[in-house]
Symmetry: C2
Subunit: 339 residues, 2 copies
């Protein structure tokens, strides 16, 4: 029992192929009886159009592709969740391609499996690939990089601004000696957050001190060790506050402080970035800066669809972070001595 095609329906209904196609696609040229008859036959045979044939001919799929190297972690599922909701709303399907093989990515994009693409992937797609996509008039929105390159869209978080705002918040609590725990220096977001931190210090004319910039690599353990070794070496110069490159790092920092007998936030304020799921449950609950992930997903789909409909040119957008104040930060108090 082979797959039922439009041909089978035509034969069974005693009409031509084109008539069946018209009936199925609701083109209004057929007599109501013929149409009804054909639909009934199609139903009876359980006919389902072959999407590849359909797509090959019509060139449009009503499908958007999301290309990513990973879906691990809350960032991705929040993103996918919001994108798929918005797709539903706009009458598109969402198709997530998880692969690390650039070849696969490019051939799916250029091979027209989807009407437009959202791209998030750390490695791989370079200027040349983007040029190829532009040449083919592929509509794309990037989530992980700024594109000066016109024609393509991008929606990224303003990490610089987040770093800046976080630092300003700590300053507003009365803290003057604010340390920064750096993430990975090759990552764009990481660097931007630090830049924002430095800018805020400069703006408030607080000294930028070399030893106040620690290296935590976005990991709990590394940060724990880095902070501990700082406290060992400079017991007399403990910062008022630590701004960690992300929440994981903030957690390591808090552990290290606790192990040296400092109370957070009474003795030292600590904050991170990302507002990961466990942040509100941590002890103390973490003050952090949250990225509006759902908004990013929603805007990406919106923008892409408008690009596809030629209502909008690709453009770059930046999203502001959202300060979330919880228990790990506190106005500056006179610190009790180290136990």
């Amino acid at each position: 029992m082979a797959k039922i095609t439009i041909k089978d329906v035509a034969r069974e209904a005693g009409v031509s192929i084109s008539t069946v196609s018209n009936a199925l696609n609701d083109v209004d040229v057929l007599s109501p009886e013929t149409k009804a008859h054909i639909l009934k036959v199609a139903q009876r045979l359980n006919y389902v159009p072959n999407l590849n044939g359909k797509l090959l001919k019509s060139g449009t799929t009503k499908m958007l592709g999301f290309f990513t190297t990973s879906v691990s972690g809350p960032y991705f599922y929040k993103l996918v969740e919001s994108m798929s909701r918005q797709c539903d709303r706009l009458g598109y399907g969402l198709n997530v391609f998880v692969t690390k093989d650039k070849q696969v990515i490019m051939s799916n994009i250029l091979g027209r499996r989807v009407d437009g693409v959202i791209i998030y992937e750390e490695l791989g797609i370079d200027e040349q690939d983007i040029a190829a996509m532009k040449k083919d008039k592929i509509k794309a929105v990037f989530l992980d990089r700024v594109l000066e390159d016109e024609g393509m869209g991008s929606i990224i978080f303003d990490s610089y601004e987040s770093g800046y705002e976080a630092t300003k918040y700590l300053i507003s609590l009365g803290h003057k000696r604010i340390a920064y725990i750096s993430g990975v220096d090759t990552m764009f977001d990481s660097v931007q957050r630090k830049e924002g931190y430095l800018a805020a210090l400069r703006e408030y004319q607080l000294p930028v001190e070399e030893e106040f910039i620690l290296q935590g690599y976005f990991e709990e353990d590394s940060t724990y060790n880095a902070v501990k070794s700082y406290l060992r070496l400079h017991p007399a110069r403990v910062p008022d506050a630590f701004l960690a490159g992300n929440d994981i790092s903030a957690m390591g920092c808090i552990q290290a402080l606790k192990s040296y007998g400092y109370e957070v936030p009474q003795d030292v304020s600590v904050m991170g970035f990302d507002d990961i799921d466990i942040a509100p449950y941590y002890s103390p609950p973490l003050t952090t800066v949250r990225n509006q992930i759902a908004r990013q997903g929603m805007l990406a789909i919106d923008h892409l669809v408008r690009m596809i409909q030629d209502k909008e040119q690709g453009a770059a957008q930046k999203l502001q972070g959202e300060l979330v104040v919880r228990g790990s930060s506190h106005v500056k108090l006179e610190r009790k001595d180290r136990r």
Copy 2:
């Protein structure tokens, strides 16, 4: 500048279409020079085959589809992560379709966008749809239901066994009066866990008491209220241990116990199911039963690919849970009086 097709490559290289196709697909009938020449031309023109044309003709896509109504939460991303890794390993691509529209799901499945499908969706696909898929020889693996129906695969967690093992563990700690906090009685997993719990009680000849079965609806608040009202009504008959339908519920239970001055685990043991991300960070860290999500994903892909290659018939598999002992459970102690 329209899309480059195989025709353009043929014209440019001065050969026929079929020759180009042979060159590109490495069919070994061409002279090395011709082949090299064609490949060079294709490269120069940035030719990328149209996947729809290709697929339409050859009928195979080397793509697997994962159909789901949601990707929210850790379960899904762990699942997708493991599936995509296994796909990579086996030379397939993974394609996640997120939609609540059954129509979309069915037309993508039957419309041959993918070589095989993994299905997880709570509502929608019924016996009739499955019959249609079988008729079309679609290869499918279900993750959310047992399929007695031969021909299709399914890989589910053995929730009955998990409930049984969890209860046995609590009994092994010396607990005799074990309460169960039920989830949602329409959900398969929820019911199965409770059945396992009851079976263990029966096996050890412990009395099954009506009041010991509370209703928590898998929510923190509902459970909190349910447990609290139990403690208010039966202050003299506090269980030795609570087995909550999931970790969220366990958290609510612990809060309620604390509010009545009971210490967990010294006074009462509490455990849940799922091992959610915050379980190890909770206070106390939760004892729970973990489902092997990554294993489920891996097995699903494996099974599906073997079905596609006709090496295996669809079959049902069950995965055992994994007991994770943390701080919320303890051997039975003589309980101090209520404060």
